[in-house]
């Protein structure tokens, strides 16, 4: 490490590593230098000229966003000339900017408004006609109001550099320069909304949020996105029990400010008119609304009756419910109902991976590892579509550290744009293709391997053996589908596996075996839709379903409990990389209850002693009994992420690779939830074509 550089900013002695930009050195020293176009992590622009500072022995003011610190540099950010320069920049900016803050969607959280408040130019000397261009809608998500745009190019850069999409550009020249979408009059892109969130002013606004509220009228609830397995933190803006927006401007969580369309906008399933808000009971062949007490009593009586006569239960859990709910459900099934017939939709072969890496320390990568690793290998997954945060991390790693990414996939993927090597392999031949990369991979100093459901069972063991043979540190990510897919396995929602991958005394039926069983008495489905593409063999089995919507499974139910979504409850979830994070309740939907509450009420009616059905009490129990879940409480309580290592030894149960199948959701689908998000369904164009065109061509 080179010696730190010593300089003086506003008379204060400041030390910074060589190469630090002046603006960052000042920030570290607690001195704010205002800027619009400078944005950490994106390419430098020096366009807005807000960050001009005085540097001794330099005749002109200098843009501190592009000047690295120099030894002995004497910098002033507080001199009258700097203050005058800032004020004049704001005056120039406001010349053609509409001065209608009271009705602007950005009012109250606008960087331009804040800057003018702090640095002056409150008085307008511009008395000429302002330029006007009409507002445009570019997609269901994105609206653009050109007169408000200050041309900081953040949106263009986040789209091109951050997302790897390049859907935004700049057309025209001079004062009529304008941000433009890739399809002339509309956007064909990921619709992630990153451009909107990064916009410092009210130029880019979102179709879901605009003109619905003032920012200060909302509660801001930081919770975890309930869609894919990446575990992004999303801060929900909630007013009167209605979610109005999602973003992550405080850059907390494993995702920083990254979110895809699902994390930002696909919360609208919570208010879908088809949302169930009352328990339903089959009366004379039809599902009719009934009271909670009647529904609960009916279920409890049925469960008790079947249990007492030694009947057969089948329990199917969810990969979106919380760890606490999953833990309680398996306890309910095993201890309360005495059944081992317990399963959920498994989308990645985590069990075999954990078994194969038995005895190795730190072989599971975290989300942040993907940003730091020198090399990565993606096998059998379209990362940008299916695991958007992980793809974002690899892309940022390449951009900032020139890391090497290798892909072995069945078709073209977006990672190919920057990958050092990309191989298209037929399904089933992925490992053969990986083998051809052996020499190159062995020359890397470290590697993270991410694999989808193409690699399962023996293939996982072979892959780990391959990793071992490279002679470099290798970490793995087993890609899974949903927000708590990982947690569902960790919590033992699998036949024969107890929480923490301990073997149960006996095994039970898997999902398809339950559905096919000729003697099933009760099927209890919590937050899953196994009957979407399958039939229940037995016509008179009693079916209990917890659901938000009348899915194919709910339609077959005898009792349907209206369940709360992840945004409506507390608890923890575990993401694809095994990082545990906390959900926070953002709203209450009338008539619904969380699955945990429903479990507790049924247990109470059945007089079962399964412990308190409270998320905090269960989490406490999990921490004590499940290896690896003894995560530091302060980290979880403050919204941080803690990685679990749920096992470090052989997993004594066969993983049934034949039952592992990813749903292959895209950026615009999300299992059952996606079907009830109007926003996701309104995006018609699909950006697959963007993979092939020349984004980022030098």
């Amino acid at each position: 490490m080179a010696d730190p550089v010593n300089l003086s900013i506003d008379g204060r002695a400041v030390q910074a590593p060589a190469g630090t930009l002046l603006i960052d050195a000042a920030k570290t020293a607690g001195i704010e230098i205002p800027a619009f176009c400078y944005y950490e992590g994106l390419s430098l622009q020096a366009a807005c000229r807000m960050c001009l500072v005085e540097i001794e022995k330099t005749p002109k003011l200098q843009a501190s966003c592009t000047i690295p610190v120099g030894e002995g540099m004497i910098v002033r950010t507080d001199s009258p000339i700097v203050a005058a320069a800032r004020k004049s920049m704001l005056e120039f900016l406001l010349a053609n900017h509409p001065l209608d803050c009271p009705v602007c969607d950005k009012g109250g959280e606008c960087e331009l408004q804040d800057m003018v408040f702090r640095y002056g130019a409150g008085e307008s000397r511009f008395t000429e006609n302002k330029l006007h261009v009409d507002e445009k809608q570019w997609s269901p998500v994105v609206f653009f109001d050109a007169p408000r745009c200050i041309l900081c190019y953040r949106c263009v850069r986040i789209c091109n550099e951050g997302m790897g999409v390049g859907a935004l550009g700049i057309v025209n020249r001079g004062v009529i320069s304008e941000i433009a979408p890739n399809e002339g009059d509309h956007l064909n892109c990921d619709e992630c909304g990153a451009c909107i969130d990064i916009c410092p002013v009210g130029a880019l606004t979102s179709g879901t949020y605009r003109y619905q509220t003032r920012p200060w009228e909302m509660n801001h609830v930081g919770t975890i996105c309930t869609h894919c397995s990446n575990g992004c933190k999303t801060t929900l803006g909630v007013r009167n029990d209605k979610i109005i927006r999602g973003n992550n401007r405080d850059r907390s969580g494993v995702n920083g400010e990254f979110l895809c369309i699902k994390g930002r906008y696909a919360f609208d399933f919570t208010e879908n008119p088809e949302r169930l808000q009352s328990p339903l009971m089959r009366i004379n062949g039809k599902l009719e609304p009934v009271s909670w007490s009647r529904a609960l009593l009916t279920v409890a009586q049925k469960f008790a009756e079947v249990k007492n006569r030694g009947g057969k239960f089948g329990v199917i859990g969810s990969n979106r419910t919380t760890n606490e709910e999953n833990y309680y459900l398996q306890k309910f099934a095993r201890q309360g109902l005495g059944t081992q017939n317990l399963d959920h939709h498994r989308s990645g072969d985590l069990t075999t991976l954990l078994d194969a890496i038995s005895g190795k320390m730190a072989a599971l990568a975290t989300v942040s590892d993907l940003y730091k690793t020198k090399a990565s290998l993606v096998i059998g997954a379209d990362l940008a579509e299916q695991q958007p945060l992980l793809a974002f991390q690899l892309r940022a790693n390449f951009r900032h550290h020139a890391s090497h990414t290798y892909t072995v996939t069945n078709g073209p993927v977006r990672e190919r744009k920057y990958a050092i090597a990309s191989i298209v392999a037929n399904p089933g031949e992925e490992l053969k293709a990986v083998e051809t990369l052996r020499d190159r991979l062995a020359k890397e100093s470290e590697l993270v391997i991410l694999f989808g459901d193409a690699i399962k069972g023996d293939a996982v063991r072979k892959l780990v053996a391959f990793g071992d043979s490279l002679g470099i540190p290798v970490k793995y990510v087993c890609l899974v589908d949903y927000s708590n897919s990982r947690g569902a396995v960790d919590m033992g929602l699998v036949p024969g596996l107890l929480p923490g991958y301990r073997a149960a005394a006996t095994s039970g039926l898997a999902t398809h075996e339950m559905l096919a069983a000729p003697d099933l008495d009760v099927l209890w489905v919590v937050g899953a839709n196994p009957l979407k593409n399958a039939k229940l063999a037995l016509a008179n089995a009693f079916v209990v379903v917890h659901e938000m919507f009348l899915t194919e499974t709910a339609e077959r139910a005898d009792i349907v409990f209206p369940a709360a979504s992840a945004y409506e409850k507390e608890g923890t979830v575990t993401n694809v990389t095994g990082e545990v994070q906390r959900l926070k309740k953002a709203l209450k939907v009338m008539g619904t209850k969380s699955d945990l509450e429903i479990f507790g009420l049924i247990a109470k009616e059945m007089h079962l002693d399964l412990g308190p059905a409270r998320h905090d009490a269960i989490f406490d129990e999990m921490r004590k009994t499940i290896r690896g879940y003894n995560v530091p409480l302060p980290v979880i309580a403050t919204g941080g992420a803690a990685q679990t290592s749920p096992v470090n030894g052989r997993v004594p149960v066969e993983s049934r690779p034949d039952l592992i199948q990813s749903a292959r959701d895209t950026l615009f689908t999300s299992g059952s939830l996606g079907r009830y998000s109007k926003m996701l369904n309104s995006v018609l164009e699909h950006p697959a074509g963007l993979y092939e065109s020349g984004v980022n061509t030098p």
């Binding site: 430098l44 622009q45 020096a46 366009a47 807005c48 000229r49 807000m50 001009l52 005749p59 002109k60 003011l61 843009a63 592009t66 005058a84 320069a85 004049s88 920049m89 005056e91 120039f92 900016l93 010349a95 053609n96 000397r125 511009f126 008395t127 000429e128 006609n129 200050i150 041309l151 700049i170 025209n172 020249r173 001079g174 004062v175 009529i176 320069s177 030098p698």
Partner: protein
Amino acid sequence: MIYNEPSPLEVKVLTKRFLLENSASIDTYLATDGYKAFLKAREMTPDAIIAEVKISNLRGRGGAGFPTGMKWSFVPKNSPKPTYIVVNADESEPGTCKDRLLMENDPHQLLEGMLIAGLATNAHAGYIYIRGEYRYLIDIMDKAIAEAYAKGWLGNNIQDTGFDFECYTQTGAGAYECGEESALLESLEGKRGIPRIRPPFPAVAGAWQSPTVLNNVETFCAIPPIILDGGQKFADLGTPRNGGTKLVCISGHVNKPGVYELPLGFNLLRMINEVAGGMRGGKKLKAVIPGGSSCPLLKAEECDLPMDYDSLAKAKSMLGSGGLVIMDEDTDMVKAALRIMKFYAHESCGWCIPCREGTTWLKKMLTRFDEGRGQSSDINLIGELAKNMLGRTFCPLGDAAALPTISIVEKFREEFEAKLVVAAGSYSDENRFVQIA
């Protein structure tokens, strides 16, 4: 072809072949010492070539006046990347029309200058970036390049010297900003002509991020005579630190506007009166733009001075590109200020706030003055806005717009006052908002 009669006061170094028959052909060139400088330079070390250029006191003819030898010495030696020669033939500074003549009448002199720069910096490829409007010059240069290839003055192993050099033309498509060297490089790479953040400078990371020697046409054209006749001889033509001759483009209210090659240090009043035939119609001189529209104006009484980089800097103006615009006593200075600002507003690339917004705001205000709708407070505001741009923009275009404006407002304030709305009730501070809305 030349478009005006030469003056007997000219010292013809770069333009010495202009009057020859078929002056653009390689045969004419070879018959008049053409490519001899290259052969001489081939016998010199790169350092010796650069030293000779330094001795000549040649300064960049595009406008900035940076010492050429020093610029070349910044090119890293033994770079792992190839080095490129790029010619700035994007002549667009209002008042300037000299590079046109150099390419039209003596294209091989430019090619030879590029070759010598290639020898000095170990470059083996050159690009001539010519503004799009000069299509006929692209044809002329392409023809000259083809001749040079045919006769072995370009290509592999030039004249058995073992030196290789490829040369190409590249067209612009209408953008003043592309005369700024880093914007030119962006344009050469097929992008919008937005200047680059510097450092790094083109000498280190220029075309395609490779080391690049980038000079104006006239600068390259001065190289063959410097090498052939020695840097000292060239230096002696001018004044100390301001070596050689300069092509000046005299336009405006004179009897014989034209392009003339004169030694640096030539007196400005003599240029007007003796070279350019004096003021048109016997009118009195009012003001001069000494080096293209980006330079602060000189009032008539400031014009008795030697035309070189240092003397004009002392007079708080610039020699710039050598475009002299002569204005007589009838010139409407508000209109002139407006026309200049209209140009910069049109050409601002829009990248940075002060230039993008400042030029347009000033254009709108000056339009109001020109139409007789000025307000007294606006006169100071014009100066203030221009000063708020000055030195704070991303590239020198902001300065180029601010400097002439500031000088006109300061030096001809009374003409702005004469354009104020004075009649009560017609237009006043009280109702201006209503009227404009």
